[in-house]
Amino acid sequence: MPTATFRIWRGNAGSGSFQDYDCEISEGMVVLDAVHKIQAEQANDLAVRWNCKAGKCGSCSAEINGSPRLMCMARLSQVPLDKPVTIEPMQTFPLVKDLVCDVSWNFEVKKQLKPFSPRPPDAEDGSWRVLQRDVDRVQEFRKCIECFLCQDVCHVLREHHFHDRFIGPRFLVHAAALEMHPLDSEDRVGQLRETDGIGYCNITKCCTNVCPEHITITDNAIIPLKERVVDEFYDPLRMVFRVFQK
């Protein structure tokens, strides 16, 4: 059987380095298979986070040869194997160990966002009447598997570390899913501008490029939200109107 070399980051928050592992490969293997094989045969304590191994749970995010991907969907047949395959943890979050990083910040961010708040039901049994074409758009956003690759690649978080003032593409998609939900009655536009930091996004579309669910994050979620913010806060007519209201 052919072998390939995998250059895997080993270490914790304190220190670490890349280590090379040779691993036999077979047809159809994905990067996560190789990591598991190395773990079972050569490095029992190699830390990797994973779950479904089918691209549905978004647990095994990492950077493979520098690009943010799900390890379970990265086929070895699409990666050059004549030189070592580099696997390292996502860079935007603090490292726990090896390929595992601490993504708890994301869970804290979600708690701060206003929850879904439906309008009163349309029917006596507590149900609503909504057409498919009215939910198509939010269904795209609800495909998100929370792999946080978009957060990883977003320069506002990755380079500028604005975790305290910018919620990142994942949660802008979440906000869009709520704002454009046909039943939702909450208003999040003020929060988007003031605390969520939507203005920091300068639509470079890096997030859209790495999304394993192919959600058009920038065009379909972020830009329409930015337009709502502009309409509400920067529309000249409304600004005049607000002056008179005071």
Partner: protein, 607 residues
């Protein structure tokens, strides 16, 4: 050795898939303080992988549907070994539980008149599965998760419970460790809800994730609760078979619900050649009628591809064994053929089955709108589990509740597709409600420090052994050997000789597990985690094998080559597994609950 004082809650929920989240939400709504423990990050639990839909007699698409039909379908699918009270509650309450999800933000696919759309599925008389394309599980878990995070529920992510703490009378807490830092946590609680899911990781070919190590089954067994029906392991008929590294990944039954057909290497629709008598009246006898059924013709009967999972899996095994399989040891599942019948078929398939399209395209280089898939059975679900009281979901151990896949009763000898998602909503809610009530009526009790110290010591033993000494065992190797053995000897078709060999093999693996050694330290150490998982894997594997040995008949998902027929009198009995006073596993038989006259009438009317 134990770093902190016990963490106190009224109710501790173990597992944060659908059942655990729903239980936690309900217990909190009842006013209880709630801790929720999950082995993964929140929202990653196995529910996320459910594809086809959630079964509920909403009758949005076919107004002939109601709870009685759903109840009768569930009982027939389970070969009448089900707990009929659970089947009744499930059928009655599922619609309200689904509507509640919509009120919490779930966005189901819509019918033309704007209601929740429902689709056909195996064993269900009418289109009954509310769904979101083929990612229904993701929609459900995200809805529950996003609702739960605003309810003041304490979530302990990447934390695993390794022992329930009891005081001889009832459950008093749980002992856990943090997977990332490796530190121990002790919970002191008035009630505990087990919602730990299934057991698939004891098998080599499985649709289940690493988390499915039967923790709830093993924890409850060690705490003194009874397990029932453990011989009934569901092998989903359609898992991927190629390439090898993805073998076992699920191919949703929704493919067949949307008109996909099964063919052997001769191109035959082999499912037409073997239709069980109990289903003959409800099954199409020609391809044309089957197609019309999938397109919503109310006068048509369902195609035989939509027979129950146990039967379809056995037929696939037969085709492969008799030399009519596909090149990689499966059969062909073809949805591309519908282009003969539908305009824009490729777009239709991509819209109805987006993640299947994606999965085959990315993992197998196959475009399912153009060519057939190769599929074969994969370990999917366990019908058996912790025995619970139907209304409250309380186990034999006071204060200990169980819900979802780790609990038993609803599905009998075989589960219908779609009934697991409704199961975890209906009984997750009930378990949360009754656990909170139990907590209101009972005070917290003391935790034995001796007990926690003993558990901690045992948990750390693998570090005491050096990986370099003679006879030191690698935990991953033991798990792989177990998976191979269970797959080959306690798999889809079984016989006395093989099962007996597996029982003995488990004994040998247990001896090897005592010599497991791990390297490194306690910080996020998968070798250590696997060493700890082995205790649970071996405990419930023995329960499965011993139950399979006891049931000398073929029924539902349990197929014995040496006893190919049903045994009338075993159809009224469950195999019960308990730990006896010597700490050994004991097998006994107990009658299933009587079916009251009213429910029997519903069953008879639809036989």
């Amino acid at each position: 050795m134990i770093e902190h004082e016990p963490i106190q809650y009224d109710v501790l929920v173990i597992g944060a898939g659908g059942a655990g989240l729903r239980a936690a939400i309900e217990a909190r709504a009842m006013g209880a303080s709630v801790g929720l423990v999950c082995k993964s990050l929140l929202g990653k639990a196995h529910t996320v992988m459910a594809e086809g839909g959630v079964a509920a007699a909403l009758s949005n698409v076919d107004d002939r549907d109601n709870w009685e039909v759903h109840f009768a379908d569930t009982m027939r699918g389970g070969q009448y070994l089900n707990n009929c009270r659970m089947a009744e509650l499930h059928a009655k309450e599922a619609p309200a539980r689904v509507r509640e999800l919509e009120a919490w933000g779930a966005v189901f696919d819509r019918s033309p008149d704007g209601r929740i759309l429902q689709r056909n599925f195996g064993g269900h008389a009418y289109p009954r599965l509310a769904h979101v394309g083929d990612r229904t599980g993701l929609e459900m878990i995200r809805t529950l998760q996003d609702y739960a995070v605003h309810q003041e529920i304490d979530v302990h992510m990447e934390c695993a419970v390794i022992e329930l703490l009891t005081d001889g009378e009832r459950v008093v807490g749980a002992f856990a460790f943090d997977r990332d830092r490796g530190t121990f946590k002790v919970f002191r609680t008035k009630a505990v809800v087990l919602a730990t899911g299934g057991i698939g990781k004891a098998y080599r070919i499985t649709s289940n994730s690493w988390e499915y190590t039967g923790d709830g089954h093993a924890l409850a067994y060690r705490a003194g609760a009874a397990l029932i029906d453990m011989e009934f392991v569901q092998f989903h008929p359609t898992g991927m078979v190629w390439p090898p590294s993805v073998a076992g990944i699920l191919v949703t039954e929704g493919v067949r619900g949307e008109g996909g057909v099964l063919r052997n290497s001769l191109g035959e629709r082999f499912m037409f050649s073997d239709i069980p008598p109990a289903y003959r009246n409800q099954t199409a006898d020609n391809e044309e009628e089957g197609w019309r059924y999938t397109q919503g013709d109310k006068d048509a009967r369902r195609p035989p591809e939509l027979l129950t999972r146990d039967h379809v899996a056995r037929c696939i095994v037969r085709e492969v064994k008799e030399g009519r399989g596909s090149p990689h040891g499966g059969v062909f599942l073809d949805i591309a053929w519908i282009k003969e019948r539908l305009p824009n078929a490729a777009e239709h398939i991509k819209r109805k089955l987006p993640s299947m399209y994606h999965q085959f395209k990315e993992l197998a280089d196959i475009d399912i709108t153009e060519e057939p898939m190769e599929v074969g059975p994969t370990t999917h679900y366990v019908m058996g589990g912790v025995r619970v009281e139907a209304d409250s979901q309380m186990t034999d151990v006071p204060g200990l509740f169980a819900a979802g896949e780790c609990a038993a009763g609803l599905h009998g000898a075989n589960r219908l597709g779609g009934n697991s998602l409704s199961d975890l909503l209906v009984f997750g809610k009930r378990a949360g409600e009754y656990a909170a009530r139990f907590a209101q009526e009972n005070s917290a009790r003391e935790i034995s420090r001796d007990h926690t110290a003993r558990v901690a010591r045992t948990a750390l033993e693998p570090f005491d052994r050096s990986v370099d000494t003679d006879g030191a065992e690698n935990p991953f190797e033991i798990q792989q050997d177990l998976q191979k053995m269970m797959q080959d000897q306690v798999g889809i078709v079984r016989n006395e000789h093989d099962i007996q060999a597996a029982v003995e093999g488990i004994g040998r693996l247990r001896e090897r597990a005592e010599r497991v050694a791990v390297s490194g330290n306690r910080e996020y150490n998968p070798g250590w985690h696997t060493a700890l998982d082995l205790q649970n894997l071996l405990a419930y594997s023995e329960a499965i094998a011993r139950s399979a040995l006891a049931r000398k008949e073929s029924r539902g998902a349990h197929t014995r080559l040496d006893y190919p027929d049903k045994d009338e009198k075993l159809g009224k009995l469950s195999v019960v597994i308990r730990k006896n006073s010597d700490g050994d596993l004991e097998v006994s038989w107990e009658p299933i609950p009587d079916i009251p006259e009213g429910l029997q009438r519903i069953i008879d009317a639809r036989k």
